[in-house]
């Protein structure tokens, strides 16, 4: 079983640009978006999309599909923020409303202020998601780990993440196989039967987890494991001057834009 984002992170055109450079760009933009305002959000979104589709060469169909999934989620999160409920009389609702519905003493309404708040939130989320996607689509997880090790994150954290990353894919495949086996024996219908199958599946997966652990610990003990997982980080990454120059220039422009429109 493949995870699409992970595959793309290893095969995109920015693969050989230094992960530190890409992470610095992505994280600085993410932090910047958190404090910026609407016009800048749109600019960041467009610029990050240019990086993803243009420079990293992620097919635009895939990028659009990724954004579509997020947008649906976002669209479902916004109504609760816009809707206001009050038990006071209609006359007391002072703000402008676009929609109002009353049942009994309660009034459900969407105010203009709520709409504004929600649209600002929509823009901030979309532009920060584009920064997140830039990181996810261009930096493979193993390289994030290498960077974490270099900046001095405790080896307990990086080792656990390393083992997890290694086995997430193994277990996803195991689940798929177990599921096929269940179906081949006639997966059952109805809620309680389905539930029982799912329970059995999780229990089998747990048993496999423990088996894998025993295999892994014997294998590593045979190679003299003493508590540290030492991995060789050989990379041919280089810091790209061209991208650094563009990132710095556009970042300054964005700061100027924010300063100008945010006044």
């Amino acid at each position: 079983m493949k995870i699409q984002l992970d595959t793309l992170a290893y095969t995109n055109r920015l693969r050989h640009v230094s992960p530190i450079q890409k992470l610095v760009i992505g994280i600085i933009m993410l932090c910047f978006v958190m404090v910026a305002h609407a016009p800048t959000h749109i600019a960041v979104f467009v610029w990050m999309s240019v990086w993803i589709v243009g420079y990293a060469g992620i097919p635009w169909r895939i990028y659009l599909r990724l954004l579509g999934a997020i947008s649906l989620f976002l669209a479902l999160s916004l109504p609760p923020i816009m809707l206001e409920i009050t038990a006071r009389s209609i006359a007391e609702i002072t703000e402008q409303t676009v929609f109002i519905y009353s049942f009994g003493v309660f009034h459900v309404y969407i105010g203009v202020a709520g709409m504004k708040k929600a649209s600002a939130l929509l823009l901030r989320s979309l532009s920060s998601v584009s920064c997140l996607y830039f990181i996810l689509l261009t930096v493979p997880f193993t390289e994030i780990l290498a960077v974490l090790r270099r900046i001095g994150v405790p080896c307990m954290v990086t080792d656990l993440l390393l083992v997890m990353y290694r086995f997430v894919f193994v277990f996803l495949e195991t689940v798929e196989q177990l599921w096929i086996a269940y179906k081949a024996r006639g997966a059952r219908h109805g809620f309680s039967r389905k539930m029982r199958d799912a329970g059995g599946l999780v229990a089998r997966l747990f048993a496999r987890t423990v088996q894998r652990y025993q295999q892994l610990s014997i294998g590593l003990a045979a190679r003299g494991f003493d508590g540290d997982l030492r991995v060789v980080a050989s990379s041919h990454a280089f810091v790209s001057r061209r991208y650094a120059a563009e990132a710095a220039a556009v970042f300054l422009l964005l700061v100027a834009l924010e300063w100008w429109t945010g006044r």
Binding site: V202, A203, A207
Partner: protein
Amino acid sequence: MKRKRMLSFAAVVAGFALYFSLNEPNTAYAMHIMEGFLPVGWAVFWWVLFLPFFLMGLRSLKRLTKEQPETKLLLGLAGAFAFVLSALKIPSVTGSSSHPTGTGLGAVLFGPLAMTVLGSFVLLFQAVLLAHGGLTTLGANAFSMAVVGPFVAYSVYRLTVRSTGKQRLAVFLAAALADMATYVVTSLQLALAFPAASGGVLASFAKFAGIFAVTQIPLAISEGLLTVLVWNWLMVYNRQELNTLQSIKRGA
């Protein structure tokens, strides 16, 4: 006038029906606050609140691995197990399917402190590999799902076992209430960040909790049932494997 009222009532009902039917498949990750959704102040606030618990968990794990180095491998594999568990689809009592959070089972199997660390890593993986949740909101999500969830699950489990002695009931309550606690905390996080224009944080909390209740309560019950079934399987067939976990649980 009456006709107009009927029409608008029908529109509201249809709106809600559409909203919830669209929302149902996403319930799985509905308790993840997405990237950029929280204002910067609240994002930082939840990070600050979450980190002490994470460091405490990490320290207890460090002590364990110092005694037995291979415990580190077991923990890593347990984390991968928790991630894959959260990616599974389980049937829900409402007839559709959704993803379990796995916090209840994890807390009972691995202990609450270990689950805090592993749960945070699961959330990190969900953000980095699946783009569910986010990096700036990781603090808030981890606090509700990896700190509050496991601690509620574990204390409910211990209390029920001690007072009634019924293992299955304890496991069911632990998993279901962990989900409920996570959902209440997430509603609170959203309410604090987005107080209602009329009524403030409390009204906003009622609003978020009310809307999430429709999908989250059935989900909590389904997860409770699933966890009991898993527990039964493990008790019957996998005693030996469960004993392996003793090395993690001692520290918690």
